[in-house]
Subunit: 368 residues, 2 copies
């Protein structure tokens, strides 16, 4: 193997794939990045067996070949390379890869590319095409509501449903539920649904740098591939039955409260500083076109936050875990939200005022 | 106590003093910030008994008074306050302080200001005045060479010497020594020297925001005060005998190597990636107007870095702990440095080319 490339391209490739490198693994080869030549490009691949990332960068191939280099060390080195032409070469019959940036060079012990698991490019006659900004916004508004707890795997995932031109993402940790809809660029032949790890969606979102590029989602039975630019990312799907979100979303409500998103977020954040440690409970009282938020920590003190609101319906009060409110208010871009309540024992629903593509449901906390 | 202030001023004051708040303390009152009114200003004070910071911010005092508020919570709250007039008040006879940002408010349980240790403003007829940029540069070039190990307290400090208009800072961890000189604005009546904790100097440096303001150092027997802007910082001094730095600095050398600072730093950083784990040893060979830096890690591979240099004197070779080289090269602003060597067993000396106010000495590593 012998290729010539720029520091910039090599660094880009390494930074993309290293997100999939396994930090804890019993297979040493998974701590590495697979490098392969093909058509005057260098293909870089990393995987932790759940998530695999391929990226190709332009290089000049003098001799075809492949190798595996330890990721952490390789990325540290590439980051510090000078802006000169960089030659990566491997003497046949040796395990040593030489990175030459004349007059200096570094030789690295490599691993056997035959041992590296195959990260396939998935094929499917029918794909989902989606605007990258829409995708990023959908991910931002849903993945935070997944559960971190690996003991109940389906709640660590986001349910993705595609039917005709409609795409939906649903996430819940059983205390709150986030639901977001979007429009795909081209309709799918048949409806498809799958539970995708929240981690996968966040990684895809972080790797998308361009606004308004097209991201292609290739669905299969047990894996999904995301393609954009020169990157493809393949992830396992999560098995299991996702709770029926249509059943839990209330059809009506008794109180509608219209309030500024930023003002509510600020008040909830301040009040949460004085919520009893561990439970994060804050109380909302809706009365006289005013929303009063209170919290009380016997050790620290108590908060009393007042906001002007527009009420439609009954006066009411309810208690929430402040963290669940903060998460949603941070994810909503709309300047105002509608908070829909039906007494202190029924779930609250938050919707942005300026669009009807998002809904966030939050269970109340029972207080004495 | 009753004062009216802006969020901006209050936030500034809290962020300045919280650097001295004790994170681990058996005295609960030290987890707090002391607030006191005086002459239409609010004085904020925090201390961990080794380091104390006072700052005063403009407020409107309606009623004089003082209180102590838990620092972590108070700074979190102030950071989130709206940009409205903020009233801090305390009902006589209660322990509750109310932060009022109409129409909302937060009440905080306070601590007894009588229990808060006094952080004095030191007085001395003779003070040292220094340009803040000079001070920051001196701190940056010396404190990194202190030892982190509290078992040998003097090496955690920087020796400060002032004589007439000359100020010197010396730091060493016994493996390397950094020595920097500067000029003070006004001469001191009598020479003064003290060992100041490296942490203190770093805190002062971080708190200085203005370029070219005057910082005043007030020396006493067992404490030192730094004054700048509305801030005063008082620190204990470290007892003990600092090693004689003039004895260890070589008077002559056998080899002088002139090399670009950035190029050398980059090469040393790359080579250090392949230095044997734990020992960080890299080898420098000076021959034929070339500096070759090599390192070798049996697990990862080996580096060979080449740099064009100007040699004056004997060809030679030497091994260093790469970390000690990197620290110094990062602290030097000069585009080129002179590396002075006298064989592989004598200390190396680094001096910036463009100024003679800095010297860095580094002990070699013996290799087989």
């Amino acid at each position: 193997m012998q290729v010539l490339c720029t520091r910039e391209n090599l660094l880009y490739g390494v930074q993309v794939v290293q997100r999939a490198v396994s930090s804890k693994t019993t297979m040493p080869v998974l701590s590495g990045i697979l490098l392969r030549t093909a058509n005057n490009r260098l293909l870089l691949t990393a995987t932790d067996l759940e998530l695999g990332i391929n990226v190709s960068v332009p290089v000049q191939v003098m001799e075809e070949g492949s190798t595996v280099i330890q990721s952490k060390f390789f990325s540290e080195l590439v980051r510090r390379l000078p802006d000169t032409p960089i030659e990566i070469s491997m003497e046949p019959g040796t395990k040593s890869v030489t990175i030459n940036y004349s007059p200096s060079k570094t030789s690295i012990n490599s691993m056997d590319p035959e041992e590296f698991p195959v990260v396939p490019e998935l094929e499917n006659s029918s794909c989902i095409s989606l605007n990258s900004s829409t995708f990023k916004s959908m991910v931002k508004q849903t993945t935070f509501a997944t559960a971190p707890d690996e003991n109940r795997p389906i709640f660590t995932g986001v349910l993705l449903l595609v039917d005709q031109r409609e795409i939906k993402m649903v996430a819940t940790d059983t205390h709150r539920l986030a639901f977001r809809t979007g429009v795909v660029e081209s309709p799918l032949d048949e409806p498809w649904q799958a539970i995708i790890p929240g981690k996968t969606l966040n990684e895809v979102s972080k790797l998308i740098k361009e606004e308004d590029e097209i991201i292609t989602i290739v669905p299969t039975n047990n894996q999904v591939m995301f393609k954009f630019g020169e990157i493809s990312l393949i992830s396992r799907l999560i098995d299991g039955q996702f709770p029926n979100h249509t059943q839990v979303i209330p059809k009506s409500c008794k109180t509608k409260v219209r309030v500024g998103t930023k003002a509510l977020l600020d008040s909830v954040e301040r009040a949460s500083l004085l919520a009893r440690e561990g439970s994060n409970v804050i109380k909302l009282v809706i009365q006289d076109n005013t929303l009063v938020i209170t919290s009380n920590s016997p050790d620290l003190g108590k908060a009393h936050e007042e906001l002007s609101i527009e009420i439609d319906g009954e006066e009411t009060q309810i208690a929430f875990n402040s963290r669940y409110l903060i998460d949603a208010l941070k994810a909503i871009d709309s300047e105002e939200i509608m908070l829909e309540l039906s007494g202190s024992l029924s779930p609250g629903v938050i919707r942005p005022m300026e669009t009807n593509n998002y809904l966030y449901l939050i269970l109340p906390v029972r207080t004495n």
